[in-house]
């Protein structure tokens, strides 16, 4: 197996592999296509049902295109007297914006200390940081609830947004620290010689170079916060404060088994994040390179 290969032989192998390559690529494409179709089928079902009348849903097959196409379901969902999807959207937007700003900002600051500064207890503090990455959220869920209750914060956005400004999560700090470590130290040493403070180095040198990493943290945070169900479920009782994700559940509770409305609501709730993904796809895919490969 390990015998040296001559140039002629290598050419032969390479040529054969291009021919084999075409066949392989066709097979791969076929599998990918079939897989993609089956991954999309549930979305398709949701979409077509949202355009069908309740009567048609009962008689027609699940995946057929509606015979009598109607926007009526969306109309009913948006004008429903008991739930206000536009308000839900606004709440989601508010919470997500606050959390994303808080998480990105505070983790960027904290990561700087771990990446660039020497301080007492640094190694062990870093170990603590790493171990909290493995800490399941369930351990802090109940006492946090009690704590926020005693602060009279339940039924406000505060329990969902305020903690984001305090560190932004171990994973994000770690991610940004790794990224900062990759930025040449010569840059900040030059700035130090020019008399810059660490805050200047952080804000003028490191931050401008960390765009892709910050964007990754931001996009993950947007997705995580937007899709969060448990947090709003625990802290937002008032229907006027609910986020889209929780609002859809409230809507479901009121309209159980009315599939035309449920699916229209699901479409409405799913659209914003998919749009965000298409807009932010570039940052996203690039940024992922950093998350897995440590």
């Amino acid at each position: 197996m390990n015998a040296p290969v001559t140039a002629k032989e290598y050419d032969r192998v390479a040529k054969r592999s291009t021919r084999v390559g075409v066949v392989i690529k066709t097979i791969v494409l076929a599998i990918l296509f079939a897989g993609a179709v089956s991954f999309m089928v549930p979305f398709w079902v949701m979409l077509v049902m949202s355009f069908k009348s309740p009567g048609e849903i009962v008689v027609s097959s699940a995946w057929s295109w509606p015979k009598a196409f109607t926007w009526d379901n969306f109309n009913q969902v948006l004008t429903s007297p008991n739930v206000n999807f536009l308000l839900f959207f606004r709440n989601s937007l508010f919470v997500t914006t606050c959390v994303t700003v808080g998480v990105t900002g505070s983790s960027a600051v904290v990561a700087y200390a771990f990446a660039r500064l020497k301080f007492a207890g640094r190694d062990r503090l870093f170990l603590i940081l790493l171990s909290t990455m493995m800490l399941p959220g369930v351990v802090t869920m109940i006492p946090s609830y009690v704590m926020f209750a005693k602060l009279h914060w339940v039924n406000t956005f505060l329990p969902l947004t305020v903690p984001a400004f305090f560190g932004g999560g171990a994973f994000n700090i770690f991610l940004l620290r790794q990224f900062y470590m990759g930025i040449p130290r010569e840059l900040d040493e030059a700035a130090l010689l020019d008399g810059a403070t660490h805050w200047h180095i952080f804000s003028r040198v490191i931050l401008p170079l960390s765009g892709p990493a910050l964007a990754t943290v931001g996009v993950f945070c947007v997705i995580g916060t937007w899709r969060d169900f448990m947090g709003p479920l625990l802290y937002l009782n008032d229907p006027d404060l609910q986020t889209l994700e929780l609002g859809l559940q409230t809507f479901r509770a009121l309209n159980d088994e009315r599939w035309n409305l449920l699916m229209a609501g699901s479409v409405l709730v799913s659209i914003p994040l998919i749009l965000i993904f298409f807009v932010g796809q570039r940052f996203f895919v690039k940024g992922i390179q950093m998350t897995g490969g440590k």
Binding site: M1, Y10, L32, G35, F39, M40, P42, F43, M46, M49, A62, N82, S106, V109, V110, Y112, A113, L117, K118, F119, A120, G121, L125, I128, T132, M134, P136, V138, V139, I142, P143, S144, Y145, M147, A149, V154, N155, P163, F166, G168, F229, M230, L234, N237, E245, L248, Q249, A253, L254, L262, M263, S266, V269, F277, F278, V285, I288, Q289, T291, G293
Partner: protein
């Protein structure tokens, strides 16, 4: 009103109850003696003089009290008061109540009311809000809920308010209703409506077609049809009105109830049996009473053997309809449920329209010995102690649970007034002025006739948890996987054990927070020592000290967050796990009993741990293999890769609630996507032989994926594969990070595709794989949304994920201490798995080390 003459019917309650119990026992033994003697026709007939007298003794038939106080000009100048008012009424009720609230605001101009509707888990959410210190001022309440709040001193006893209100006439309210909303003589809920479920909606046309006279309430039921009694035998009528085709498929059901328990309670109560020895403070459960067992068995037989009564499975999967819908479509002859479904039927059955048929209501049957009894709904309003304006809250309560609010509800046909005088007049009971659209059902007087026979389920706050074992065993009986006797034996055993524990624990010592705080501080001190003790010997220059200070400035957000949102809560959680605490009343010290209860008493703990472990151990590796396969395929340079990548990733972006809804549709047994694929649109396919394989789990017909204990978890695992896109993206990024020349070098060395995969791809990808595995495990052990939304943990706990059980304990039962213990157990389970996985690190290749 003079204090001395204030009506105090509640002090008389105890002796009355004892007399009633004695009477019951006496009646029971008399009936046992005269097994086959026909019941007294005069007692059976609700129109008889005896029955009328009985009703008059329960509430005065007239009422002069208006339900509000006069408002003077001075009152109108009072400072504004805002109240929050929470109800659970659905789409029918809300607009009506909102209108009544607006009128209330007009009458008392200085009070503004914020109206909120809550659709699910109302009682739990309310208790939750009390614990969360954000309770409303006035809340809708019923006899099953108030006790929990009253015991925690979270709602006001109303006797004092009643005494202070001139002219208040409590005797006008149905007495059983007031009693059910009281505890030890104190009224805690001012009742607004009663809703006896002992009434049966019937389709007159189907009765006519079958040649059976309309029921007048004088019928009886027996375990076997008694053809000799004809229309006087309910069981016979039920049998006669069921129509099947040649193959035994049911075309028309004879009877159904709003939920199986409604009819079961009727069967049990009319035989004179009860579920517990004392409804206010139960000490013994009676689910294994032969009368209960016989009733449960009878229900199973009429559902599964005779098919006169659609089983829950049949409704959910076979028919995909509620009993309400079946009745409205003319496919169900008789329907037992409360009066609250009338407005919906009026809307669905409009005279003159083709779907219309004549219908009415009748009194539910008595047992063959003449005994009657049926469950009842009923509700009212309570004043929360967290309110800052108790008197204004009382004005609202009095308005909504007094004549103005009741008139509004009665007018809409939603709820039978709790004040009897109002239930006897228009608009509740039809008269000459009743508009045509409110004509149905004509015999609304039946709702008054049913009141003397209502039986209230135990109101103790311990009861919901105790009865849950009974309910889950019922579910198994209706599924046909267990017989009544065995099910009731298990139900009795488990619920009695639970009741004993709960009763024993009502006297625990107070938890000592001072000691707890000291332990917490010691723990923090220990951690600080661990961090800083090694630093003692380090000598630093002034510059280094300066840098250290600056660093702590940068670290400050994280350090504070660590203290307040991670470490602090962790310590609190650890302390709480040794307590019994609802976050409302003072915490009690429970020692290790929470952990002992987890291990030895709570059957759902082991079940949920098992379910979650199976889910994790199957779903995470499966997802990883699929993600890896997809990533490898996408890494082949084919056209349109970014597009495919997007397609595979999109499901991970969809809203969790929306996906749960979509997948519920996919898993539907009839017309669901999955079964259409397996069985074909007409049920004749056998896709890849899967249909034959599935015969073992579902011998008769298509699999009810989420409703079948054997397939529900598998279905959720299948669903989890849909979210494989997230890991796929990470692995794809990892793959693209592998330098191409490694492969070229391997090829030159003569490595085939498999060797290249094994010796280049896997080692270089191993950090990403490990990352996905560990985060996948941690996430998967805490999976929640799917079972919360799709199955609520059912059937029979088959999808009761650990987090759902924990959530229910913490936020539904408000057992924060117990749930904290659960959280710590899960923490250690996850820790063990993580440590094992980190042991895999030695097989993981890190580029940095190789250099």
């Amino acid at each position: 009103m003079d204090q001395a003459t204030a009506p105090t019917p509640h002090t008389a309650m105890r002796p009355t109850r004892i007399v009633l119990v004695l009477l019951n026992v006496l009646l029971g033994s008399l009936c046992a003696l005269a097994q086959n003697a026909p019941p007294d026709p005069d007692l059976l007939n609700p129109k008889s003089e005896a029955a009328r007298k009985l009703r008059d003794s329960m509430a005065t038939p007239t009422n002069d009290w208006p339900g509000y106080l006069p408002v003077s000009e001075e009152d109108k100048k009072r400072p504004k008061v805002n109240l929050r008012f929470v109800v659970w009424d659905g789409e029918e009720g809300r607009p009506v109540l909102q209108k009544a609230v607006r009128e209330f605001e007009k009458h008392y101009p200085w009070i503004k009311v914020k109206f909120e509707g809550v659709s699910q888990n109302f009682q739990e959410k309310l208790l939750n809000q009390v614990a969360g210190e954000c309770a409303p001022d006035v809340a809708m309440m019923d006899m099953n809920g108030f006790n929990r709040l009253a015991k925690r001193n979270a709602i006001y006893g109303l006797n004092e308010f009643i005494a202070k209100t001139p002219g208040f006439n409590l005797k006008g309210y149905y007495k059983p209703l007031v009693d059910a909303h009281s505890f030890r003589g104190e009224v805690y809920v001012l009742p607004r409506d009663i809703a006896p479920i002992g009434i049966i909606y019937y389709n007159k046309e189907l009765f006519r077609k079958a040649g059976i006279p309309y029921p007048d309430g004088t019928w009886t039921w027996d375990f076997k049809p008694r053809p000799e009694l004809r229309e006087k035998c309910f069981t016979w009528v039920m049998q006669q009105l069921t129509k099947k085709d040649k193959n035994g498929k049911v075309l028309q059901y004879g009877f159904a109830s709003g939920w199986p328990g409604a009819f079961l309670d009727t069967l049990v109560f009319s035989q004179g049996a009860r579920y517990a020895d004392d409804p206010e403070e139960p000490t013994k459960v009676l689910f294994d009473d032969p009368r209960v067992v016989n009733a449960v068995q009878f229900m199973q037989d009429i559902m599964l053997k005779e098919k006169w009564f659609p089983s829950p499975t049949e409704l959910r999967s076979g028919l995909q309809a509620s009993a309400h819908l079946l009745f409205a479509q003319g496919r169900l002859a008789m329907y037992e449920v409360g009066i609250w479904e009338v407005p919906a039927f009026r809307r669905e059955l409009v005279p003159g329209k083709p779907e219309f048929f004549e219908w009415d209501i009748a009194l539910a049957p008595a047992y063959k010995d003449g005994g009657r009894g049926a469950p009842t709904g009923g509700s009212g309003y309570s004043i929360l102690k967290q309110t800052k304006h108790p008197w204004e809250a009382w004005l609202l309560t009095m308005w909504m649970a007094g004549p103005p609010g009741m008139a509004a509800m009665a007018n809409a046909g939603i709820a039978q007034p709790g004040i009897r005088a109002q239930a006897l007049q228009e608009p509740w009971t039809p008269g000459p002025n009743t508009p045509k659209e409110q004509a149905y059902p004509p015999s609304r007087i039946v709702t008054d006739e049913a009141v003397p026979y209502v039986v209230f389920n135990p109101t103790s706050d311990l009861w919901p948890e105790v009865v849950s074992h009974f309910n889950s065993q019922q579910d198994s009986v209706w599924l046909g996987i267990i017989d009544a006797k065995e099910a009731m034996r298990i139900a009795t055993e488990r619920s009695q054990a639970r009741l004993d524990v709960l009763r024993a624990e009502q006297r625990l010592p107070r938890a000592n927070w001072l000691l707890g705080g000291a332990i917490g501080l010691a723990l923090v001190g220990g951690i600080l020592a661990w961090v800083y003790l090694p630093e003692r010997k380090v000598r630093r220059t002034a510059k280094e000290k300066h840098e250290s200070r600056i660093a702590y400035g940068f670290l400050m957000p994280w350090l504070l967050g660590m203290l307040f949102f991670t470490l602090g809560p962790m310590i609190l959680s650890l302390l709480m796990s040794f307590m019994d605490w609802d976050a409302i009343t003072p915490a009690m010290y429970r020692g290790v009993k929470n952990y002992v209860e987890l291990g030895t008493v709570d059957p759902w703990f082991w079940k949920s741990l098992l379910v979650t472990s199976i889910y994790t151990v199957v779903a995470v590796p499966l997802g990883l293999v699929i993600s890896l396969a997809l990533a490898l395929l996408l890494n082949v340079k084919v056209a349109g890769m970014p597009l495919y990548r997007t397609f595979y990733y999109l499901p991970s972006l969809a809203s969790g609630v929306a996906s749960a809804l979509i997948w519920r549709r996919v898993f539907q047994p009839e017309g669901g996507l999955l079964n259409t694929l397996i069985y074909g649109p007409d049920g004749n396919w056998n896709f890849l032989g899967i249909a034959s394989l599935l015969k073992t789990v579902s011998p008769d017909g298509p699999v009810n994926w989420l409703g079948n204990e054997k397939t529900a978890l598998a279905a959720l695992i299948l669903m989890s594969v849909w979210g494989a896109g997230g890991a796929m993206l990470i692995l794809l990024a990892g793959l693209q990070g592998i330098p191409q020349h490694y492969y070229e070098a391997a090829t030159i060395d003569g490595a085939g595709p498999w060797t290249r995969f094994k010796s280049v791809t896997i080692p270089l990808l191993s950090p990403s794989l490990l990352f996905c595995l560990i985060t996948g495990f941690i996430g998967s052990f805490q999976v929640f949304t799917q079972s919360f939304i799709m199955t609520s943990g059912g059937p029979n706990g088959a999808t009761l994920f650990y987090m759902l059980h924990l959530y229910n304990q913490a936020f539904m039962s408000i057992r924060m201490g117990y749930a904290s213990a659960m959280a710590w157990v899960l923490f250690f389970v996850i820790l063990i798995f993580t440590v094992i996985q980190l042991r895999l690190t030695k097989y993981v290749y890190y580029e940095a080390e190789a250099k």
